[in-house]
Each structure stands twice: as C-alpha cells, then as structure tokens.
C-alpha cells in the first residue's frame, strides 16, 4: 500500500465509522426511535420476514437493541481501528439487511423519505461495498489501535517464545 492509498483508505474508514457511530448514538438517545417504521415499509421477497420482526413487541425490542449497539460498536471499531475486519463484515451485513428490507427496485415506492433518487443501487449498497473494500486492506494495522497488536504479533521476541 502506498502512503496515499493508506491515507485515503483510512479516511474512508474513519468517515464510515463516524456515520455508523452517530447513527447509533442518535438512536440510543432518542426515546421514540424504533426500527418498526422501517421494517413495516419492507417490500420485495423478504418483506414477510422483516414485517414479522416488527410484529412482535418482544422481538422488536431485541432488533432495536441489536441495531443500536451494532451501529455503535461497528462505528467505534472503524474509527479507532480495532477489530476492523469483523466490523467491516458486520457493517456490510447490516447494510445489506437494510438494503434487502427496502431495495429501490423498479416499481417500488416507499413512504419514508429518501435523500436521493435511486434505482437498484442506493447508498446502503455503496457503503456496503466500501466496507468490503476496507475489509481486504486492513488499514488499521498501519493507522489505528490495531497497529500496536500488529507490531507485537510479528515481533521476533514473540516468534521465539
């Protein structure tokens, strides 16, 4: 990785981390937020599954909790650069689930406001792809808390012991 590749990929990692972390915090501190509205909007072949999650108050509580803490932990991991690969995969999975719940396919309209115009590809899908890219570069081993561990792992002292 050239320095400019490293810096730009790290920038991407930090920005996505910021996005995840703040999404999580905003939900955590809003007493009214629930994933129910989004889930009930679900269309396409998996809509039954997503709506079923919203239908049961007990399940919904778990989904909300997982979503909030998933976003926060993934965000923290990406920003600080620790557990990056797991965070990338988990984040990509979460985004893919958001995408599957409400894909912008031709003929589908959603009542929840969208911030752009999409067909098939939306920002969830792009952010997901960006996370997959990050998962193979592992910038945190060069810039981020993981650097300390990466350093240790390859040290001759460890190899000897």
């Amino acid at each position: 990785m050239s320095p400019s590749q490293l810096y730009l990929l790290t920038l991407l990692r930090v920005l996505i981390g910021w996005h995840f972390l703040y999404e999580g915090l905003a939900k955590l501190f809003s007493s009214y937020w629930s994933s129910a509205d989004y889930l009930m909007e679900s269309k396409w072949i998996f809509s039954g599954l997503f709506k079923a999650l919203a239908a049961s108050p007990a399940v919904l509580k778990v989904v909300d909790w997982l979503n909030i803490w998933g976003l926060i932990l993934i965000g923290l991991a990406l920003m600080l650069g620790l557990g990056e690969r797991i965070a990338c995969w988990a984040g990509a999975l979460l985004l893919f689930l958001y995408y599957l719940a409400a894909p912008p396919l031709v003929g589908y309209n959603y009542s929840l406001p969208q911030e752009g115009s999409y067909v098939i590809v939306n920002k969830n899908l792009i952010e997901m792809a960006a996370l997959l890219v990050l998962s193979v570069f592992r910038t945190s081993q060069h810039l981020g808390l993981a650097y300390f561990f990466a350093r240790k792992k390859v040290s001759p002292l460890n190899q000897e012991s």
Partner: protein
Amino acid sequence: MKEKEKEKEKEKQSPDKEGVSLKLTRRDILKGLATVPFAGALAISAWEKLSSEKARKRLILEELGLTEEAPPEEVPPSPKKKELIRIGIIGFGGRGESLVRSLGFAHPDWVKRKAKDAKKNRFDTGLQDFLNQEDLNVVITGVCDIFDIRAERALATAANDVRPGGGKGKLPGAKRYRHYQELLASPDIDAVIIATPDHWHARMTIDAVAAGKHVYCEKCLTRTEEEAHQVYEAVKSSGLVFQLGHQNRQLESHFKAREIIKRGLLGPVNLVETTTNRNSPVGAWVYPIHEEAGPHNIDWAQFQEPAPHKVPFSLERFFRWRCWYDYGTGLSGDLLSHEYDAVNQIMELGIPHSAVASGGIYFYQDGRDVPDVFQVVFEYPERNLTLVYSATLSSGRNRGRVFMGHDASMEVGSNLVVTVDYGSTRYKEKIKNKVIDLSLPLFTFRPGAKGIDTVTSATEKYFAQRGLLYTYRHGRRVDTAHLHLKEWLECIREGGQPSCNIERGFEEAITCHMATRSYLEGRKVYWDPVKRRIV
C-alpha cells in the same frame, strides 16, 4: 555502520517486518492513535447536537406546560371487588356482535376463524387481543334479535366459554326474547346494550329506563329531534346510567388534545375541519345480505314498526338500513356523529348556533335516499368558531381532523400533531430565535409509538386512522369499545357519569339532526337555546 543505522530506522518504521523492536517510539504511538482524535471530535459534536436538541425540546415542553407521557386516564379506576352485571343485548348484527366481543364474549365460529387467520398471518393478533382483554365480570342473560339466524348466533356467543377469564364453565347462557319488551320485563337482566338500527333507539331506551335497566346505546342517539327530547327527559329522570356508543372518547390522543386546547396552545381556534372519506361498498353501507335470510326468519312487521313509511318486505332495507331515512339519518347519524362528538369532547362546544348542509346522491345511485356526499357548516358565534364537516363515500383520500388556531394547528386521529403557524403571535420570539422550527411539528404524540399496528382491511384502516378501533393504555393496545363499555359498567357499580352521558348524547343528536334538517329542507337551521328547539 550507516547501513546498520538505516536498517534500524526501517525496523522502527515498518512493524510488519521481522526483527521489529517492541519499544514504542513516538511515531508508533502516533500511528496507533492516529484516528482517535476523530472519535473525540465525533463525541464532542454528538454531545453538542444531542444536548441542544434535548434542551430545545425541554424549552418547548416547558413553554407548553406539557409532558411527553400519556395524559392521566379519565376513566374511573376498577374497584377491587366487582359485582356481576347481567346484560341483555338488543340487536345482534355486525355492531351488536362486535360490542359483545368487546364485553368478552365471542361466537365459536369467530374464535375458529381468528385462530386460522393468526396461523396464516402472524400480524393478525385479533384472537390474542380478545383473550387478553380484561374480564369485566358480566354475563349475557338475554338476547333479542328479530332475525332468527342472528338470535341463534347471539345465544351461541353468550354460552361460549372461550373468553377472557373463561374456562371455568360457569356461564349461564342467555334466553332469547322475540320482542325487546319481553327482554326488558325479565328480572334476570340489569342492563341492556342497544345495537339496533337508529329508528328503534329512542323507544327502546325510553322503555329500558322505565323498566329500571341501565342503557348502553349505539349512536346516533335517535332518528329525529322529537325523539331526542323524549329520550333526554326519560334518562334524566330515571337516575340510571346511560352511555352513548362513541367509543373514541377513550382515545389517549383525545385526552392529550383536550389538554392542549385547555392550555390554549393553539391560540384562538376559529376553524375546525373534520371529514369522512371512505371508498368501498361496505363503507357506503352496501352490507352483505345473508343468503338464508327471508320473510320466514325475519320479523319484518316488527322491524319497520316505528319507521315513518311502511313498505313490503325488503332484504335490502333490512340489511342496508343506513341507506334510508326511514331507519337512520345516513352520514349525519353514522359518521358526522363520531366526528362531532370527537370535537365536542376535545373543545366542549355543545350544540351549534346554526347549521347549513348540502350534498347529494352522486355515486351510489342504488335506490337509497340518503346522500353519499355531504357537507355541513356549523356556526358557534359565542366561541368565534366554525365547524366544517365534509364527507364522501367514494374517495378514500385521507383528510385529517384539524383544529386551526392563530398560533398553531392540531391534527388529531389516533395520533396527534401540533404545528406552529408562521404568523403566530404567541410563538413569534421563539420562531425568531430558532427555538421553534416551522418545518417540523412542535409536538407529536404517538400512543404506543414503540409498537406496531397491524390493521388488516381498508375499512379497518379508516377506523383505525379515525381512532375508532384501538387506543393505548400503558403502552398496550386496547379496544376502545371495550374501554367505553367498561366505563359504563364502572358507573353502574360505583355511581358517577360516563363520558358520553345523556347530556353529551343529546348534544350529539341535536347537532346531527340540525344537519339532516338543513339538508332535507334546503335551508339554514338554528338552535333556539331558550325553547330548546331546532328552528
């Protein structure tokens, strides 16, 4: 030497390579902590943003003197030991059966059907909701319906022990009476529910209180003004508990709306607009006709006895009675009555000074004589206010129930939204200081916001939007008719007046009849508060 130094330098820079030293250099620390400042920046900005939003919300709530929580219930609390009340049901059509379910009794077929529905669609929680209902400690001991099949259905319902608090096998079952007067004469009945067509309401209520029975009567209170006076006198002088079936009086959002009006948060309210939009044959009262029904199992003579015009046996008229003035008052008594009562509950308007109505039979030209498009304008000069009602049965466009004030407007259904007006005097400073953002509602109240409503049919959706099906208590979804019946029963046991007592019922009936008279007579009608007559 120089090469060795260079190698050492390299080792320090690239930890990936072998032979790196564990000693942390400043450079190592910088690399490891490079992105931490970003997390710090986020923490600071997130804290700033969230706390400013919180402060703004607190400022607004303080200014409004409101809390976020649901308002205290206006329903009297349940006493610990509940005395058994024996109920007679008069009229077991769709509404009667649904009211009896709200009381805690369902027909075995309904239970079976809902169990199947729940298996097919996990959103259909109808059966579970029914079984979770509070046991009101009542039994159904008498049923009266002039259509044999419905009377049989009522008997089976009264004896079905699959119910809230059921399974004890103690249900006495009900006796069928062919005439309501025989039911009223029975000593085994303490109170009656009247769910017949409107043309029977007055006579049955008057006879019931004369027989010493408490009454829960469906809206509209009566078919005519004259009957409204008679019912009012009879109920007032009886001292018995009377409740009119406007179950949306139990809505949490209505309690909140009352609070908002009482605090004057909207400023002077000059215009209230309320509507009915439905777009289906059932919504337009083209109810299904039972395939086994005929003159052999319907007591037609009894059905039309109080109707002004006598006609030969008609299945259409029997099942779709709302389409004719002989038995009801169309949109006035069926749906304006709900809308008016909601506004009356929230603003305590009482009977209007005047009414002008217009409309026509524009879509359902199926032989009915009541309009399917209907508009009424009511004036309240003493309150400096106009109430507008507008209805169509052939468009499903959702129009809210809106209270328009100088400072803010409020839309009330099962949710409630208050939006500040850009020309507001009261909030002028706050708008200027950006404490109030005009692009957002000032206040939103969503009962049960964390749960999900699973409403299955289009008509049900209409009713749910208008708050006619469910409300919330302590975050749990509850059937409003159940709460309305419960309130009536509590008043029978404990004394006191239910929320839609005869005073409110009289106001409802007169207001609806002013609209009907204005439409039929093609003129503006007035309420004379001294003579207490429509003129």
